[in-house]
């Protein structure tokens, strides 16, 4: 066992931290308030190789490992969780399934432009009546000659307002439940595909969350990812990787809030001394630091397990469960330390507190993670 970042990883972290401070931070509050999708941020992140961190260089990516990817998501999210999830979706939920399940032609046609940041991707699985139970999805894919015709609608699609490509899950036969689900790569300008408006959310407000409606959208067979009926496996395997990205995002949000809390506690004076000298505040900081370090280790372990090429479902679920709930507690205490000021939009902890909440929900709720972990522990 060894926990020591390599020269390359340290350099990457420093580069991304500078980018986050110089490019991302100045606009973080503004896009949170307006909901405006930061496409310019994504373009510049792409130039740095952050749109496909773990995608091989041959396909336009940065060719790094998954721990490096976690460093990227953590550093961006430490400043702006919206920007963090935009990258996490493109890396984990869009590039990864094409890399893992796509044909050589599909990798050349789609992956290269996504991993280089030239194009932006989204992942369309969730529907109004299929959230934690994705096998209940109703979007259909009907075979028609050499094409499939997609009908239905998807909700809560991160990056949806601005994506160029979507990974879409539809069923070729609802009777077959999860065995009928099939994945497609769909260009977002395909005739019949329309997007809803901006979803105003409690947190990560500028991540382009919207509805996608498919009305007779025709896609050629060569856009199908894997075989008919492989979609559920594609989705589950992709979400394992996605959970590592969200764990890194949660660690980043918590670290951002923690840093603010440490600084504030030392500057704010009450009863004639900095509040950091009171035991209650010190103990909060100690618990926050402890949980943060634990969460980062769980996240890196899941990332390491992913790169070993074996199944890492348990590691990813544990990392995601722990870090998301940790981020909730840490941002809550950071806000508490800021007192009334923390409840205003003049301080970033208010945003971190709101942003943390979604990490317990998307990419599988905490309850779904517990189902996954319990089943592994019980050997079901």
């Amino acid at each position: 066992m060894q926990i020591k970042l390599s020269e390359e990883q340290l350099l990457l972290r420093e580069t991304v931290r500078r980018f986050a401070e110089e490019v991302v931070r100045p606009r973080a509050r503004e896009i949170d308030a307006s909901g405006e999708f930061p496409r310019d941020f994504y373009d510049r992140a792409g130039e740095l190789g952050l749109a496909g961190v773990a995608v091989p260089e041959a396909y336009g990516g940065a060719g790094m490992d998954t721990v490096s990817y976690c460093l990227v998501i953590e550093e961006i999210s430490r400043v702006c969780a919206t920007s963090g999830v935009i990258l996490s979706v493109n890396n984990s939920l869009v590039c990864d399934p094409i890399l893992d399940f796509g044909s050589e032609d599909q990798k050349r046609e789609f992956l290269t432009s996504l991993a280089s940041g030239e194009k932006l991707g989204c992942f369309a699985l969730t529907e109004s009546d299929a959230g934690s139970d994705p096998a209940a999805l109703r979007t259909t894919a009907r075979r028609d000659g050499d094409d499939y015709v997609l009908d239905g609608s998807k909700i809560f699609i991160t990056n949806g307002t601005h994506a160029d490509l979507a990974i879409v899950f539809a069923t070729v036969d609802r009777e077959k439940r999860h065995k009928g689900i099939t994945a497609f790569v769909v260009p977002c300008d395909a005739p019949g595909l329309s997007r809803g408006g901006h979803e105003y959310k409690l947190g990560v407000n500028a991540s382009g969350t919207t509805e996608l409606v498919f009305d007779g959208v025709r896609v050629p067979e060569r856009f199908r990812l894997g075989g008919e009926g492989d979609g559920f496996k594609v989705a589950m395997s992709t979400l394992d990787g996605g959970r590592v990205g969200i764990a890194a995002q949660a660690v980043g949000i918590a670290q951002g809030a923690f840093d603010e809390a440490v600084t504030y506690a030392q500057q704010r004076e009450q009863f004639g001394k900095p509040i950091a000298s009171f035991q209650a505040i010190q103990f909060y900081l100690a618990d926050m630091s402890t949980e943060l370090d634990a969460g980062r280790l769980l996240t890196w372990k899941a990332a390491w397990a992913k790169d070993r090429g074996k199944r890492f479902t348990l590691e990813a679920a544990q990392a995601k469960l722990f870090t998301s709930e940790m981020a909730q507690r840490v941002t809550n205490k950071a806000l508490q330390i800021h007192g009334g000021y923390g409840y205003t939009r003049d301080y970033d902890v208010e945003r971190f507190f709101r942003d943390a909440r979604i990490t317990e929900i998307y990419e599988g709720t905490s309850e779904i993670q517990k189902m996954v972990i319990a089943s592994a522990v019980l050997g079901d």
């Binding site: 066992m1 490992d65 440490v262 600084t263 030392q266 634990a294 969460g295 280790l297 390491w304």
Partner: protein, 396 residues
């Protein structure tokens, strides 16, 4: 960006080395075959397993962190926490007996003792011929160790100790005690020194063993020093360094207690999983009920977090963040293990409240992990102190 080279000396990896896996396997086998039989009886009778302790010495488990030239096994801190975890998984009492001798007796001697002292004392301790203990706490001095009152006075070629120590693990079975005493009453924390006191030193008396809630197969007793004479050569480091030595020792020994907590947590989870699979209510094994299954998931997740914090702290043992990381590991692992034992007993229902079930003993044993070697409150204090020093507030 270049791909991280596989042969790079740096990197993030979680696998144990082959040597560590072998050690883990050997300690687990020893614990299951030699320690588990008779466990419940020793607990009931509060009996110290002297023969087993000697065998641990023969295996090299009592001088794990002592260099080979002083008769030790020369293991890394990571190997050490792996061994403690495996012992605690079966018997937390035996684990603490072993951890005390390694962490708070051998370790300070190896780090602060003179070469002569190390040669004289360590081989016996490391081989299991001897056993070590540490006497810091007093009836009136617990978390506030700097307020200790045991005195040591220089008389000719000797130090003469007077005072009372409390809560000394291994007392009565130990052959050597690291004792912390005040040598200069006017110098505060800088007037404190540490000594190696042989068990047969004249004037050293071992009191009545404590009747404890848990860890009943480990021995804990007070010590009284009545004009107890110790050779000048048995001073650890220099006079006045005792408080520093004690704090450094505790920073290190927290790893052992963190590892003990992880071992208990591991066993609590195993017992809960086994019970949840076998016990049927409402027509299905209770593990299938989300109210039970989700508790297992939480226990398993916190266990992994505690183990990673503990192993990471062991890896960083000599680094600049060592003190904070050891306290974080000890705080988290002990609190998580307490919660895990609570949940595991709850899953056992009424059966868990019976001495027939192992979980009832673990539930008692685990309680002290968030108290000794620094309470959770002291860990939080230590962590906060490091944090505020590491992160001076930015101006503005």
């Amino acid at each position: 960006m270049p791909t991280v080279a596989a042969d790079s000396t740096a990197g993030v990896g979680f696998e144990l080395t082959e040597e560590q896996e072998i050690l883990r396997g050997e300690v687990r086998r020893f614990a299951e075959e030699r320690i588990r039989p008779g466990l419940a009886e020793r607990d009931r009778e509060r009996r110290f397993p002297a023969a087993i302790v000697r065998e641990m010495g023969e295996m090299g488990l009592l001088g794990m962190l002592v260099e080979e030239r002083h008769g030790g096994a020369g293991f890394s801190p990571l190997s050490y926490v792996i061994a403690v975890e495996e012992l605690a998984r079966v018997c937390p009492s035996t684990a603490v007996t072993m951890s005390v001798s390694n962490s708070v007796c051998c370790w300070p001697i190896a780090h602060f003792g003179s070469e002569e002292l190390k040669r004289r004392v360590l081989p016996a301790l490391a081989s299991g011929a001897g056993l070590g203990a540490f006497a810091l706490t007093e009836p009136g001095s617990g978390s506030d160790a700097g307020s200790l009152q045991t005195r040591a006075e220089r008389r000719g070629g000797e130090w003469v100790l007077d005072g009372e120590k409390a809560w000394v693990s291994n007392a009565g079975y130990a052959t050597h005690y690291v004792v912390v005493a005040r040598t200069d009453p006017d110098a505060g924390k800088r007037g404190i020194s540490a000594f190696v006191v042989p068990a047969d030193a004249p004037g050293l008396e071992v009191g009545e063993p404590e009747k404890k809630l848990g860890l009943r197969a480990s021995r804990t007793a007070p010590l009284a020093f009545r004009e107890c004479r110790v050779a000048a050569e048995n001073l650890l480091g220099e006079a006045g360094q005792g408080f520093k030595i004690a704090l450094a020792t505790l920073d290190h020994s927290r790893l052992g207690i963190a590892a003990q907590s992880v071992g208990i947590h591991q066993r609590a989870l195993e017992l809960a999983v086994e019970y949840a699979r076998d016990r049927v209510q409402f027509g299905v094994p209770i593990g299938r009920h989300q109210g039970v299954g989700f508790q297992l998931a939480e226990m398993a997740t916190r266990l992994e977090a505690a183990r990673l914090l503990t192993r990471h702290a062991a890896l960083e043992e000599s680094g600049s963040r060592a003190g904070r990381l050891a306290s974080e590991a000890k705080l988290f692992a002990s609190e998580a293990a307490n919660l895990a034992c609570y949940q595991a007993l709850q899953i056992h229902g009424g059966n868990g409240f019976s001495e027939d079930y192992e979980i009832s003993r673990l539930y008692r044993d685990v309680r002290v992990t968030s108290i000794y070697e620094g309470t959770s409150e002291m860990q939080r204090w230590v962590i906060a102190r490091h944090l505020l020093l590491e992160n001076p507030a930015r101006p503005g």
